[in-house]
């Protein structure tokens, strides 16, 4: 597991994507800066998941160029853990085959502590709560020597309180293990508390309607002026 990103590049150039007759993305240009937390917000069905799948390489664009450098791993909305593997076995999926047993042991211990799941190492996912499962997912992508993390509404299946807690957990974890993050959410407050930069997307065919940069340091209180200003701007942009 790395503590810092060594190299990461993620660039979309004139990317379009359509499913049959449905054009989802039209000539999208996007540069994800190394080390930033980029948050995408936009209406349901506008193509956020599609965009992440293009970034990760799970699907190929209909046209355009995608440049990637660095290891990319995804945190899924839910059920991304293999239910037949324990917490430790799931996290170990990310380890490189070159590591020896002692290195694995040490990293596992560090990761388990990082996500506060001591004592649950041998549990299976169905024996964990939703928040615990998402923390295991985060540990798994950190184990994988990843440079870039794609997160598709990772906390949206959780209850409100757990969601708040996970938001600050993620900030804490990213302070220790710096990564480039592309984070998709419906939750505007979540976006403004997490992001270095927020892109507001329009309805299909999707374009970027507005870009906000938030400079104030994390963790940010929800009454922080930078958070409130950003929320106001985004709500106006979405005509809500």
């Amino acid at each position: 597991m790395k503590d810092k990103i060594i190299k990461s590049q993620l660039v979309l150039e004139n990317v379009s994507h359509n499913y049959g007759a449905v054009t989802v993305l039209n000539n999208l240009n996007l540069v994800v800066n190394s080390g930033e937390v980029l948050v995408l917000v936009g209406p349901s069905g506008c193509g956020k998941t599609t965009l992440l799948n293009l970034l990760s390489g799970h699907i190929k664009p209909s046209s355009g160029i995608i440049k990637r450098e660095g290891i990319i791993l995804t945190v899924y909305q839910q059920d991304g853990l293999f239910p037949w593997l324990t917490v430790v076995e799931n996290i170990s999926l990310g380890f490189s085959k070159l590591m020896n047993d002692a290195e694995r042991e040490a990293e596992l211990k560090e990761l388990i502590e990082l996500i506060h799941l001591n004592g649950f190492e041998q549990y299976y996912p169905h024996q964990l709560s939703g928040g615990m499962k998402q923390r295991v997912e985060i540990a798994r992508v950190l184990a994988g020597d990843s440079d870039i993390l794609l997160m598709d509404e990772p906390f949206s299946a959780l209850d409100y309180q757990t969601r708040l807690r996970m938001r600050f957990e993620l900030i804490r974890i990213l302070k220790q293990k710096q990564r480039t993050v592309v984070f998709v959410t419906h939750d505007i407050e979540e976006a403004t508390q997490l992001a270095d930069r927020i892109l507001v997307l329009t309805n299909r065919p999707t374009t970027i309607s507005c870009e906000l940069t938030i400079k104030s340091p994390r963790p940010r209180n929800h009454s922080d002026p930078s958070v409130i200003n950003a929320i106001t701007t985004i709500l106006q942009e979405m005509k809500l």
């Binding site: 799970h58 059920d79 293999f82 037949w84 593997l85 999926l93 299976y124 996912p125 169905h126 994988g144």
Partner: protein
């Protein structure tokens, strides 16, 4: 497949409290004793002639006879052996075949109609061929067991593969699991709970078929025991064989059910 859900809930409801435990023994016990009483009553009133309706006592007597003569144990071993061999063979071939079918759409197109055809063809229809091809002994019975369990197993495995959530394949791709290890590390464990359910179903079928198979192609075994009892008009012995067949079937199913308690399989029954 519809039959794959039959056993699902049984072990998901843990009977934890003491009263539940007592009822677990008491209620079936009451039913059993009532059944025995009704049986005794009917045989006591001589509604049927004695040779056609043996009394519980006569059955108990022939039980001890069969055990002392060693026939019963010999027949149990013979039947268990045939079912085990036929069943293991069909699992060894049927499960990998199902895994392969599940991953290749064209293979499915090619094979599924044929598999369905044979699934609906009663394995007993193969009896004449079994005897002509394999003569008498273990082989025809094993062949029939194989024919009874191979097709449902392959089909159930195949449809289980089709229901694997796409996300598991995305995750596998993220962590560079591909080729043969995709099958052993993702596809197989993902369908294992469903495979075990279908093993229980097809083992039940196999246990039913063995009785019929042994009536025609064998010189021993539990099915043969019933057939011979009929020929000697010893229905008391036939009933004693029937009891053994039913009990053994229950025990085998219990044993297979233990598999569903393994922690890396348990998740499949917790949803």
């Amino acid at each position: 497949m519809t039959e794959t859900t039959i056993f699902r809930n049984e072990s998901t409801k843990p009977i934890s409290s003491k009263t539940a435990n007592i009822f677990g023994f008491l209620l079936p016990g009451i039913v059993l004793i009532t059944l025995l009483l009704v049986w005794s009553l009917i045989s006591f009133t001589n509604l049927f002639p004695t040779y056609a309706f043996p009394s519980p006592l006569a059955v108990l007597k022939s039980f001890t006879e069969e055990i002392i003569a060693g026939r019963l144990l010999n027949d149990i071993v013979a039947s268990l052996w045939r079912v085990s061999v036929g069943f293991v063979l069909s699992a060894l071939l049927g499960i990998p075949f199902g895994l392969w079918l599940g991953q290749h759409i064209n293979a499915r197109r090619a094979f599924v109609p044929m598999l369905n055809f044979f699934r609906f063809l009663s394995p007993l229809a193969w009896i004449p061929f079994a005897i002509l091809w394999f003569h008498i002994g273990d082989k025809p019975a094993i062949f029939l067991i194989f024919m009874a369990s191979f097709f449902p197993l392959a089909l159930a495995t195949m449809s289980a593969v089709a229901t694997i959530p796409n996300i598991y394949f995305s995750v596998a791709k993220d962590y560079d699991i591909k080729g043969f290890s995709l099958i052993t590390k993702v596809v197989f464990p993902a369908v294992l709970p469903q495979i075990i359910t279908s093993l229980r179903v097809s083992c039940g079928i196999a246990w039913v078929i063995i009785v019929a198979a042994e009536m025609v192609g064998c010189q021993d075994g539990l099915g043969y025991g019933i057939w011979e009892a009929r020929n000697g008009l010893r229905l008391d012995a036939a009933v004693c064989y029937m009891i053994v067949i039913g009990l053994l079937g229950m025990i085998i199913d219990r044993l297979l059910n233990q598999l569903t308690k393994l922690p890396n399989i348990r998740w499949g029954y917790e949803r």
